[in-house]
């Protein structure tokens, strides 16, 4: 199988798994899977240089938050491989995409399928909105706009330590409403942190609806360029374009890949929900039945 085929297989698996959970749970962050499936699939299968998972295939239960004396504590970073100087690191910022990331980990063999069954169960770390103990997560990022700044600290430290690995950050376009995000972008430029590569799921959606009706963030590319970054725009559902974007030269500057995406790509039955995609709820039985039918037609009985 070519890497393109593998990336597409992973993306399809992400959509299938997140759709299944949305049906099972009576709701979920499904549009995020639709928009970001190819981004995460391409990052994990082609772009990032990660080692194999060093975390238990089935995630351990919740064993307390970080605090003095909690020796059992670990973040979910081990699913992204060991921390080595030459290896890349991955940081997810909009952690309400957690299920999308968990599905990615399963599809790429980093987490067992049983781990997904723990999703949103009490006492589990496979939480609905990921915390740093959740599989594939390394930072507390649920208060949006903080991850990129945290990665600045990590990137500065890795540079001091002479590490060559890159630092990949997955962000949502809604985070570019936030002042701290722009503080971080200017700081990336100030410190010439070219080890930082940001993939933005630019699905044009936020909690209230279409971003352009909530706050003005465009022209995102021009703004990023003006702030001293290298920025490119690609079709966020084109795995080759997503992979090629990582190769854009950006010496001395952080690289931002604005992946223009569609919030119902691959689950077209959601299209009629426009302009509200943030959290898919079923307010009428027919809505759920429509998604059920779509699922069976597209993926058969397999869940």
């Amino acid at each position: 199988m070519s890497w393109q085929e593998e990336a597409k297989r992973v993306a399809d698996g992400i959509r299938r798994r997140v759709t299944a959970f949305t049906l099972k749970n009576g709701g979920g962050y499904l549009s995020q899977a639709c928009s970001s499936a190819e981004i995460l699939a391409t990052l994990y299968t082609k772009v990032m240089n990660l080692g194999p998972s060093v975390a238990p295939p089935v995630p351990p239960p919740f064993r307390g938050v970080p605090r003095a004396g909690n020796e059992d504590y670990a973040t979910g970073a081990g699913y992204n491989g060991p921390k080595e100087p030459h290896l890349d690191r991955f940081f997810i910022s909009p952690v309400h995409y957690a299920l999308v990331l968990y599905a990615t980990l399963v599809e790429t063999g980093r987490m067992a399928e049983e781990g997904l069954l723990m999703f949103n169960q009490d006492g589990s770390t496979v939480e609905m909105i990921g915390a740093e103990h959740s599989p594939g997560h390394e930072l507390m990022a649920g208060s949006l706009g903080q991850a990129l700044s945290q990665v600045i600290g990590i990137a500065l430290a890795r540079r001091e330590h002479g590490e060559s690995g890159r630092n990949f950050v997955f962000m949502s376009d809604g985070e570019f409403m936030i002042g701290q995000t722009w503080e971080a972008v200017e700081t990336l430029a100030f410190y010439k942190l070219d080890s930082v590569v940001v993939y933005i799921d630019a699905n044009g959606q936020s909690a209230d609806g279409r971003i352009d009706e909530v706050m003005r963030i465009e022209p995102l590319k021009d703004r990023l360029l003006a702030f001293g970054a290298v920025a490119v725009e690609v079709d966020g559902h084109d795995v080759e374009a997503l992979a090629a974007a990582a190769e854009v030269p950006h010496e001395g500057k952080a690289l931002f890949v604005i992946a223009r995406t569609n919030p119902y790509c691959g689950v077209e039955v959601l299209a009629e929900r426009a302009p509200r995609f943030h959290y898919i709820r079923f307010t009428r039985p027919e809505e759920k039945e429509a998604l059920e039918r779509f699922y069976v037609e597209k993926w058969g009985g397999k869940k």
């Binding site: 605090r67 700044s149 945290q150 600290g153 990590i154 002042g179 701290q180």
Partner: protein, 338 residues
């Protein structure tokens, strides 16, 4: 004996930090465009590779400090306290405190130590930072506290907030302070008095005169607001015949007064507690002596508080307090022997 002035020292942190950090390559300093104002200019000049300018991006700076701490460095983040615990509280909580990271948040301009007015005066920082899980909260009251807080903080395996002093600072003590242990300045049986930061010097002035009037006081200088578990605190409270007074350069809500109240309530000590401090109000800009008088933070305010608690007037006036000559305290209870 007219000399009331205790020995003042300047730029204590500026010089001390550079000396202290010389053999600690893991120590890095973050600054938010207030490098000179927070006495880290000399650090920046001496160790430019360990100095990080973040400009006025405090939220970004705090999150970045968390990131750097995750990779083994110990960021000492310097700026005015208000821009940290107010502006960047969410970042302090989620990027630093939740992950229990070794970030040292050095907040300057506690209470009314600045003429900068309400925007610059950290009057409720202890209350807020004390409520943050995993956070250790320290406060400095003299030059020795300012110097020795570095070792105390660096030994904590988690985040630390420090109420820091700058500029001209009295040297009241000669011994290093210890985490979770108050300094004992006087031992007596009428009142238990707790002070922290700049109120300690004022209190030392007042207690000298009060003692001459026959008021017997146990006086503890608190440097650790959290954890607040020094057994000497309860002991002092239990031994106080008339009651307990707290005296702080902070609002009376959530700071030292509340810390002592919690200890009293949990131990079931039914005694009067008088909380002296900024009375649940914002302050305004002005000189330090003016503000200390206006908000009731000077030695005379404490004397009046003691009178209220004892229910009698002691006949102490401004001139009596001015005549007090303070000497550095060399160890616990040394002041008693003077």
């Amino acid at each position: 004996m007219g000399g009331q002035e205790v020995k003042l020292e300047t730029q204590v942190h500026q010089r001390n930090l550079v000396k202290w950090a010389a053999d600690k390559p893991e120590v890095v300093v973050f600054s938010a465009d207030l490098t000179s104002s927070t006495e880290v200019r000399l650090f920046a000049e001496t160790y430019p590779e360990r100095f990080y300018s973040f400009g006025m991006t405090e939220q970004n700076m705090i999150s970045a400090a968390g990131g750097m701490a995750r990779e083994g460095f110990t960021p000492w983040v310097h700026t005015f306290a208000v821009f940290l615990y107010r502006r960047a509280l969410d970042q302090i909580q989620m990027s630093v405190a939740y992950p229990n990271l070794r970030v040292r948040i050095v907040g300057f301009l506690p209470g009314i130590t600045t003429p900068g007015g309400a925007t610059h005066q950290a009057i409720e920082d202890v209350a807020i930072m004390r409520a943050v899980p995993n956070m250790t909260v320290l406060e400095t009251g003299d030059a020795t506290d300012v110097e020795t807080v570095l070792d105390v903080a660096q030994a904590v395996d988690g985040p630390v907030y420090i109420r820091m002093l700058r500029g001209q600072i009295p040297r009241l003590f000669t011994e290093p302070f210890k985490l979770g242990r108050a300094r004992h300045l006087k031992k007596g049986t009428d009142l238990a008095l707790f002070t922290a930061g700049i109120t300690t010097e004022e209190a030392m002035r007042a207690t000298e005169v009060l003692e001459k009037k026959g008021v017997s006081i146990t006086h503890l200088h608190v440097t650790t607001h959290k954890p607040f578990d020094d057994p000497a605190v309860l002991e002092a409270i239990e031994n106080a015949r008339y009651g307990v007074i707290t005296f702080e350069n902070h609002t009376i809500v959530g700071g030292l007064g509340s810390e002592v109240a919690e200890v009293m309530a949990e131990a079931g000590v039914g005694k009067k507690l008088l909380r002296l401090g900024i009375p649940d109000t914002y302050a305004h800009g002005g000189s330090r002596p003016y503000l200390m008088r206006y908000y009731g933070l000077d030695a005379l305010a404490l004397v009046r508080g003691v009178e209220r608690m004892l229910g009698e007037e002691l006949g102490i006036e401004e001139e009596d307090l001015k005549a007090v000559r303070l000497e550095p305290v060399h160890g616990d209870f040394k002041a008693e022997a003077l």
